[in-house]
């Protein structure tokens, strides 16, 4: 398998599309023949990061690089940034507004889930500029 690169745009505040990019990526990984448990890990992690871009930022872009050894996904937004990353990573911490809580979001479990399901996770964020999350999942 050659290196495969995939790109997705994520719209802001569009819950009708939320989860679409991670769903598409999941299908592509399945078609490429990756193991179901690896596909599930990638799908969960990317879904959480995608939803965060919809809820907390103004949408953004997702770029995935797939090789037989490793799946790397970069999710970049131009949202407000995360003031305290350590706090944001805590289970249960959420600034989700009431209108999205009523949809089932806001448990404060998204970022901890990403950590749990990836081998490497890096958050690069600047207030007023945006947030870039880089995820790596190895195929072992």
């Amino acid at each position: 398998m050659e290196e495969v690169k995939l790109h997705y745009d994520v719209n802001a505040y569009d819950f009708t599309c939320a989860g679409e990019a991670s769903g598409k990526l999941k299908r592509s990984l399945k078609d490429l023949g990756f193991d179901a448990s690896l596909v599930r890990k990638v799908a969960i992690a990317v879904y959480e990061a995608e939803i965060n871009m919809v809820i907390h930022a103004d949408g953004g872009v997702i770029d995935a690089t797939i090789t037989p050894e490793c799946i790397t996904v970069v999710l970049a937004d131009k949202g407000p940034g995360i003031p305290d990353v350590e706090l944001a990573m805590k289970e249960g911490y959420s600034t989700a507004p009431e209108n999205v809580r009523s949809l089932g979001f806001g448990a404060g479990m998204g970022l901890p889930n990403i950590k749990k399901y990836t081998d490497e996770m890096n958050i690069d964020t600047e207030i007023g500029v945006g947030t870039t999350i880089t995820l790596k999942i190895y195929n072992q």
Binding site: F15, G19, E48, G104, F105, M109, N113
Partner: protein, 108 residues
């Protein structure tokens, strides 16, 4: 046991799903999506009152066997559309999640 048998025995209303022959391996209850996302197992029956489009997204990604909307929770129209596109089975019952889970645990 598959979803078809579950739906028949527990008299669940089928809101979405053409092929109900999907094996069931367990059950998970919850309404907070990122909680469900990481805890529900592949093949679980997912009991929830969340009938919006995001539930369908979670069901697809977590690979649950089906969604059961308890307490007759409503299914949004756009959620139904997304479920049809993604072959997600959605059932409905007037029972609450506790009653449903108790009944399922006797069957699997």
């Amino acid at each position: 046991m598959d979803v078809k048998e579950l739906a028949e025995k527990l008299e669940l209303k089928v809101l979405c799903g053409k092929n109900l022959e999907r094996e069931i391996s367990g059950c998970y209850c919850g309404d907070l999506l990122s909680w469900v996302m990481s805890r529900a197992q592949e093949g679980d029956v997912w009991l929830t009152v969340m009938g919006n489009i995001n539930s369908v997204g979670v069901a697809v990604l977590a690979d649950v066997a089906c969604i059961v909307l308890t307490e007759n929770a409503a299914l949004d129209e756009d959620a139904l559309k997304r479920a049809e596109q993604n072959d997600v089975i959605i059932l409905q019952t007037e029972k609450n999640s506790y009653q449903m889970a108790a009944a399922i645990s006797k069957m699997i």
